[in-house]
């Protein structure tokens, strides 16, 4: 058998001390992705550090900041009254992900850390630069219906599979990381990476760091929001494309604030900054939504089977904005 050591720790300090000693160690939280990767021979950690007993499950309001512990389950977050009231976009995105059974054990930190669902990544007989740098990209010229249209590289066109992260990037979340020396904070948009020349790296988490919590400022985006997930079946399917939209609309129907992001289109959750800039201060109208959607598609590139996303994505942006702004 491929043996591995299983350790359980109850503090983040000891977790960090354990992981910094061993580069072949991995944290085990919900395990909904890591265990699959181990079964498929894609991940072969020598040490699993079970952090489920580290007290990082808090969901609370401190001042005007919402704090979400890295080990809060997806269900706990999605069902929490505070989240439902203040960050309904996040709750909606979470509930669009996976299945109820998976959400019950999957954690916030694990959701951020999950790896792509690209079929070539999972089949060790196939080429994949993310799994085995230098082996090539199976998806380019192969089955790439689920793959990226933005920010792709010649090395990798995989997408990040999360729904939660699409909402978090829109909400300008801050990720708090702990390391043996202390803590550091990074913007959610800087957490995940594009594939570039190092597709094996999904994010900027360092080897001796762990995700501790998220911090999200209370905002005025809880009324006009929508998370649209377009998929092949109504549950337990990854997004073809998804759109998170949240807006603040003035009494005269002007957009005073807007956040837009997409999933299923890039190696990381994809923020639509140009579209946001265009919409700010403008009227919430079909024409403006269409223009915003058009702006979002600048630089989109299809790879054959995923060409349809170049049509589906702007349509979905329009739909998400329309639904978000039609809430009374």
């Amino acid at each position: 058998m491929i043996n591995f050591q299983y350790l359980r720790t109850t503090t983040s300090k000891s977790a960090l001390s354990l992981i910094s000693k061993d580069k072949n160690a991995k944290f085990l939280a919900g395990g909904t992705n890591l265990i699959d990767l181990m079964k498929r021979g894609v991940a072969t950690p020598e040490k699993l550090i079970d952090i489920n007993h580290v007290p990082l499950k808090q969901i609370e309001l401190v001042g005007d900041t919402i704090i979400i512990g890295a080990l809060a389950s997806n269900t706990a977050v999605a069902e929490h009254p505070l989240i439902k009231e203040k960050l309904p976009l996040l709750a909606m995105a979470l509930n669009a992900g996976a299945s109820a059974q998976l959400r019950n054990v999957a954690t916030v930190g694990g959701n951020m850390m999950q790896r792509t669902r690209c079929g070539y990544f999972y089949d060790t007989e196939m080429p994949c630069n993310k799994r085995q740098p230098g082996s090539g990209c199976g998806a380019i010229g192969g089955f790439n219906r689920m793959h990226a249209i933005f920010g792709t590289s010649e090395k990798c066109i995989a997408v990040h599979p999360s729904d939660m992260c699409v909402a978090l990037i829109a909400l300008d979340a801050i990720v708090v990381l702990a390391n043996p020396k202390g803590e550091r904070k990074i913007l959610f948009k800087d957490f995940h990476r594009l594939a570039g020349d190092t597709p094996q790296l999904d994010n900027n988490l360092k080897a001796d760091e762990m995700i501790i919590r998220l911090e999200i400022s209370v905002n005025q985006l809880a009324k006009n929001f929508h998370y649209l997930k377009v998929r092949d079946r109504a549950s337990y399917a990854f997004a073809l494309v998804s759109v998170a939209a949240a807006l603040e609309i003035s009494a005269d129907h002007k957009i005073t604030e807007v956040r837009l992001s997409m999933g299923g289109v890039a190696h990381k959750p994809w923020r639509l900054t140009a579209s946001e800039n265009f919409l700010k201060g403008k009227e919430a109208s079909a024409t403006n939504f269409e223009e915003a959607a058009k702006l979002a598609m600048k630089d989109a590139k299809g790879f054959g089977e995923n060409d349809f996303k170049i049509r589906m994505a702007p349509n979905s942006i329009i739909e998400a904005l329309t639904v978000a702004t039609s809430k009374a």
């Binding site: 058998m1 491929i2 021979g41 299945s99 669902r117 079929g119 070539y120 089949d123 007989e125 196939m126 199976g138 010229g141 192969g142 089955f143 219906r145 649209l228 377009v230 998929r231 092949d232 079946r233 109504a234 549950s235 337990y236 399917a237 990854f238 073809l240 349809f308 049509r311 589906m312 349509n315 979905s316 329009i318 739909e319």
Partner: protein, 709 residues
């Protein structure tokens, strides 16, 4: 095993076992000394094994043997040349990617799994093709055949018709994917006595195949398969991996268990073959069909041929004097397909029933009206009357229940915001088979009845149906009747396939009950009792603890005088999102026309299951292969999309519930296939009605809706 008891007709004899975990499936038999087999599979698609290094695996902890073509474990039937099944361990040829090339047996599953990863193979590779579309394009020059061509009247009469259509329809590979993984436990004992715990739709067929391969008498082989966690056709044959498991047990003299992984379910136990079909239809302007041409290509493997009834329906389902069909199978370098629910008829019905809708549209007729206009009075293919057919009534019921009058004939007429609503209809039909089966009945003085037959219950409710037939005939409460099945030592019955079990085994239940009643009447007469005396009293008076008899039953001359089919009508209402292309099935109404309904609950359940499978076929299911490598891409439950609850709306099921006067003593016909056949076309037709977009390439995923103009 506790007795399977039926409390009332809305119950299932095995329901309580299934929901409490007491139903024991093949993999759960914990035999003493059980060992575990894990397969090593080919990583190339075509060629030959040049070296196979098993040394590291053999030395790994707990490993007892590594079986391969190098040590050829004994299977005398495999020594002979010829024969088409893939002879695992008897060939170094590779026919498809993922083909089993070795089996590691160890004392734990984990150890066997690890050791299997240590086996190293090298190959000489050959050019291959797994792309069915390409194979069909290349096949035009070759002389391939599937089944004999059929012609009635003028060939390709549609070409000169007043109104004609000619369209091409594509179906991808679908994989059965029952919840229960496939496999077997084999326990080969000295003196060539073999017990197997199998996942099979036919214990007798499995027994026969094993006897043939291992050259031992049938009586030496006991096949147990009491509970099966879904088959859908994939357990209708004994697969090479099962033979390999028995070889391993014989080789080691120990019981061996093999259970496939979900990934291996895509490569070792068959699939619904891909198909490309062309339908030509011709009609007069008044809507009279004047020509049907149905040409089909079906996928098969290079090492074994597989054919099915893709073009059957075109020959008799509509009144039409000019019909011709052609069915050709084209090999690709993949594992051999097998029947999947509805089998070829479901494949064919997608094309035919879509085309019928297209023709109705071309004629500017309501498709329901067009169907009714061309509904045949007689079976023109066989020139016989139908034994029982109530399609017009089924159309009427279904149309009323779905709200067909809300439908507009002009596509894209019903729009609410971004959602477009449409209605579709289709028909399903399948031969009402009846085979030969034996049932033993044991009537006991304690008031109970035991019935035994080596049939199967892969989920439709065989035990329940049989119990209800006997209960009605014998006037014995259902909870005093036990129906035993899934054991090859019981009286013989055919495999559970082709919607024939209720008709076939049910008739034998009927016959044995009739015989038991007459025996009781004789015994009553002998004891000077009233002929209507209760059998308990009669047996007691005669000092008999029980009477038993076995009856074999089969169809007679009636099958030469009548054309016998089961029918279904499917009505579907869908909503299609204009911007995203998402299709939501909003309502389903299926009407079954299959004679008397024996068990209302399990009959409804069959239709519901077929509708769910039909939604999968129409909207979500497709096994994807990267043809550069010949390997499946989406071989898991996350990426191969069977419908989930959220995809399934309200399903209404109705039955005509009139006895077929000729088919069998119960007047009842099977419905496993008709529940699915045609369904996918009803969805495609509804999508067209909603959007004006005709998708001829299943599954109808959102991208296809957006791409279609």
């Amino acid at each position: 095993m506790e007795k399977r008891i039926l409390k009332d007709e809305n119950d299932r004899v095995d329901g309580i076992f299934k929901v409490t975990g007491k139903a024991k499936y093949f993999a759960e038999y914990a035999l003493p000394g059980l060992t575990y087999g894990v397969l090593v599979t080919s990583t190339i698609t075509k060629g030959k094994i040049t070296t196979l290094n098993t040394k590291a695996a053999e030395k790994a902890p707990g490993v007892m043997a590594v079986l391969s073509h190098l040590n050829k474990p004994s299977a005398p039937g495999y020594e002979q040349d010829g024969g088409s099944p893939l002879k695992i361990f008897y060939t170094d040829k590779i026919f498809y990617n993922g083909q089993p090339i070795a089996m590691v047996v160890a004392n734990t599953f984990e150890r066997a799994t690890y050791a299997a990863s240590l086996v190293e193979a090298t190959y000489t590779k050959e050019q291959f093709n797994t792309d069915f579309d390409k194979a069909v394009a290349d096949a035009k020059a070759k002389k391939l055949q599937g089944q004999p061509d059929y012609k009635r009247g003028v060939e390709d009469a549609y070409k000169t018709a007043e109104v004609k259509i000619e369209e091409k329809y594509h179906l991808p590979i679908e994989t059965h994917n029952p919840m229960e993984l496939h496999g077997m436990i084999a326990d080969w004992r000295p003196n060539n006595q073999l017990t197997v715990y199998a996942k099979t739709q036919g214990v007798k067929a499995t027994q026969g195949t094993i006897a043939n391969v291992f050259k031992i008498p049938n009586e030496n082989i006991r096949v147990n398969s009491e509970f099966v966690g879904g088959g859908f056709g994939m357990a209708l044959r004994t697969w090479p991996v099962e033979i390999a498991t028995i070889m391993a047990s014989k080789y080691l003299g120990k019981p061996v268990k093999l259970m496939l992984t979900r990934m291996q379910m895509f490569t070792m136990v068959g699939n619904r073959p891909a198909a490309i079909q062309t339908i030509g239809l011709g009609a007069k302007k008044d809507g009279t069909l004047t020509g049907i041409t149905h040409l089909a290509f079906g996928e098969t493997s290079v090492y074994e041929n597989f054919t099915e009834g893709v073009v059957n329906m075109a020959k008799f389902m509509y009144q039409c004097d000019n019909v011709n069909t052609q069915y050709t199978v084209v090999p690709v370098d993949l594992g051999v397909p097998i029947w999947m629910r509805g089998p070829g008829e479901a494949t064919g019905a997608f094309a035919l029933e879509s085309a019928i809708d297209e023709m109705a549209h071309a004629l500017d007729m309501d498709p329901l009206e067009f169907r009714i206009k061309n509904d045949p009075e007689r079976d023109q293919q066989r020139n016989l009357p139908f034994s029982d057919k109530n399609i017009k009534e089924a159309y009427r019921i279904g149309a009323q229940k779905i709200g067909w009058n809300e439908r507009k004939n002009k596509p894209g007429s019903l729009i609410e915001g971004q959602w477009k609503t449409g209605y579709g209809v289709s028909i399903g039909v399948f031969n009402a088979n009846r085979g030969r089966a034996s049932v033993k009945g044991i009537l006991k003085a304690d008031g109970s009845l035991v019935l035994q037959s080596a049939t199967s219950d892969i989920g439709p409710g065989t035990g329940t149906g049989m119990t209800l037939i006997a209960s009605k005939l014998m006037n014995i409460p259902a909870d005093r009747i036990t129906f035993e099945l899934g054991d090859s030592s019981l009286p013989p019955a055919p495999s559970q396939g082709g919607s024939a079990t209720l008709s076939t085994v049910g008739s034998a239940v009927n016959d044995v009950c009739v015989a038991l009643k007459s025996t009781i009447a004789e015994l009553a007469a002998n004891a000077n009792m009233d002929a209507t005396s209760n059998f308990v009293e009669v047996l007691k008076k005669n000092n008999l603890p029980s009477v038993e008899m076995t009856k074999q039953s089969q169809a007679g001359k009636e099958r030469e005088a009548y054309s016998m089919y089961s029918f279904s009508i499917h009505f579907v209402k869908v909503k299609v999102h204009g911007l995203t292309g998402v299709v939501k099935v909003d309502k389903i109404v299926s009407v079954g026309d299959s004679g008397t309904i024996i068990s209302p609950k399990t009959a409804r359940s069959q239709m519901v299951g077929g509708a769910v499978g039909g939604v999968g076929m129409a909207l979500t299911e497709e096994s994807v292969i990267d043809h550069r490598y010949g390997r499946y891409i989406n071989n898991n439950f996350a990426d191969y999309h069977v419908p989930v609850n959220a995809d399934i709306p309200e399903i209404e099921v109705h039955f005509i519930n009139k006895p077929d006067p000729y088919i069998n003593p119960m007047g009842a016909k099977g419905m496993g296939e008709i529940a699915l056949i045609g369904f996918s076309a009803a969805v495609a037709n509804a999508v067209f009605n909603a959007t004006g977009k005709r998708i001829r390439n299943l599954p109808i995923t959102p991208d296809k809706i957006l791409a279609s103009t």
